[in-house]
Amino acid sequence: MADLETFRNETRSWLEANCPEEMRQPVHDEDDVYWGGRNASFKSEAQKQWFEACVEKGYTVPAWPKEYGGGGLTAAEAKVLREEMGRINARPPLSSFGIWMLGPALLKFGTEEQKKHYLTEIARGEIRWCQGYSEPGSGSDLVSMQTFGEDAGDHWVVNGQKVWTSYADKADWIFCLVRTDKENKYQGISFLLFDMESEGVSTKPIKLISGNSPFCETFMDDVKVPKEQIVGEVNRGWDVAKYLLGHEREMISATGGGDRATSLGSAMSRQGELDAVLRAEMAMFDVDALAFTAMSEKFMDELKAGKGHPAQPNTLKYAGTELNKKRHELIMAAGGSRSLEWDSEESDGGKPARSWLRTKANSIEGGTSEIMLNVVAKRILELPGA
């Protein structure tokens, strides 16, 4: 405990010295956070400074081992760091699918060589990853996917199409589910990694209702993937895929409380007087949001201690995303007609409306709410036939 207090004090002074003032503000929008990658650029000098300071300490991925570019912190220390960053509203220095999704899967399933290579790149923000799971005919029923990898000796030749590949046009590499055995449904999928610049890979952006195009259709046309670029064993990619989905669900659910430091009701009431009934709904929302924050904290603590039900990320994902959608409904209501503006400078390019629309995907991406409820019913409540 005494050591933890020392660590807290050190962390506090380190943050004081290294986290620029500009980086101590809630994240409003995706590019408020640095995503890394070959073609990435920083939004500001402060963002760059903060990122570089964290890379040096391993604080882009504080709990990963030092030999892979992490901070080597214990669970308790990582929690202290999170608390101290939360206290000053520090932005994450780096966000990426590599950190949330691929990293944890590599830590569990990767070879030593893969860990050294890929994890270090992720920690240093050098390579940006995208996720190739969904296909036009395979969404919730992911295991029905068809993209096929033909065995060609020292490599596979991959053909097929993925869809909803977030940031495929900005990503450098993809982790991709590829069928390597047509006879076996679950045990016929391999988890492959390849460069998006490989010959035969092309992407086509899809425009969303929010007006942005953050995701794409991804086409694979005779793409050669060397055999060493597989995570886990051949035909056992489903285990890796599922493990990764658990982390994805945690990450998506983490948005549920929204900006933890402030109450939605108090933020909205500062913009203008709230109607009595809306104020009441805000109050109930704040109750739900603060309670949910406790649940995520409890979940994280249990996870680190190896307690808790393995299907709990599904609960968290369901609750967190439904809450976030509610949050943006209330923000729209509080803003009134002002929040309808679509491209004005004052609305920062229609931020409230676009964010509101974007949150609707929260309960779809990474597994829909209905699928989450199915999993909870089956694996936690053990209801029949689920």
Binding site: A76, G265, A280, A283, L290, A291, A294, V376, A377
Partner: protein, 379 residues
Amino acid sequence: MALYHDDDQAMLADSASQFMAEEGAIAKQLRHWRDCECKDGFGHELWKQFGEMGFAGMMVSEDDGGLGMGNVEAGIVLEEIGRNLTPSPFLTSSVMAGTALGHASADLKERWIPGLVSGEHVYAVALDEGPKHRPETIATKAERSGNGFRLSGSKDFVIHGASADMIIVAARTSGGNSDNDGITLFAVPKDSSGLSQDAVRLVDSSVATHLKLDGVELDGDAVIGEVDGGREVLNRMLHAGRVGAAAESVGVARGAMDLTVDYLKQRKQFGRLIGEFQALQHRAAHLYSEVEIARAAVLKAQQLLDAGSEQAELMVSVAKAKAGRTAGLAVREGVQMHGGIGMTDEYDIGLYMKRDRALSEFMGDAYYHAGRVAQLSGY
């Protein structure tokens, strides 16, 4: 601090769970006392067992002869009470009066604490003066008289008032009805002259009283804490009572949910177990999610309270509101998913519905506490 029970707390949870399932079971306690129209609404034998188990005095400091435990531990016992609908004076006596007595003079402690620790005595708290919880406003007066005080006024819905050996009364010694200052807490013995109570049975078979103070004369040493400065201790008592009631609500929610999920696995219609219907599966899974959230919120509030954190007050209201709403959902879904038999007295699910109704009013309902969350957050 990690947000889960540590090893000692987990052990306590095991023994409380076993004890309550055996001794505090619905058939043995709630139904028994209800059906014999017991005037207390609970059994004194069980209360003495609470003493033997160390539960009754668990929040009393070790110096004063108790176990020196906190709100987390009391909450563990309360969650089991909630799951089994065990009627007992634990919340008013051990948690609320126990918290207040911690701030009392040595004489008062000597007089009232041993009886609490052993489970011989029952205590009640008389705060509200109407059908809704509004402790901000206290009109009951205490005027100086000789070297003591003279209390007059009335209190409503004093749970276990009729069974209590001593009642903690919040009265006004100065200022206007809604002033923060000017409150004083008194330990009023049951046989005080001028004290009268009208007992009423509530929907959950518990017994409350409408209490009248008609010039009740008390010595100066009946005061708990400071004269005029009672708000401080009152608030501590309220926080402990609220987070305690929230823990019991979580127990009620879990009890109702478990019963219902079991039923979904037994009842067949259309040639299938009704638990196979997705319409019910999704509602059950949503309920599970809410219960998990409420549990976490309650534990967080208990930990903050025990750590003396500034955040505790806000989180206590979050916990009381969330647990109340969740238990309400659990009992409504429970009765509905039981179909016709959910409406029968023979099945326990209806008893959960009744207990939830009473518990959610106790120490402020979800509307009251959501309002406090707004207020404490500055809007």
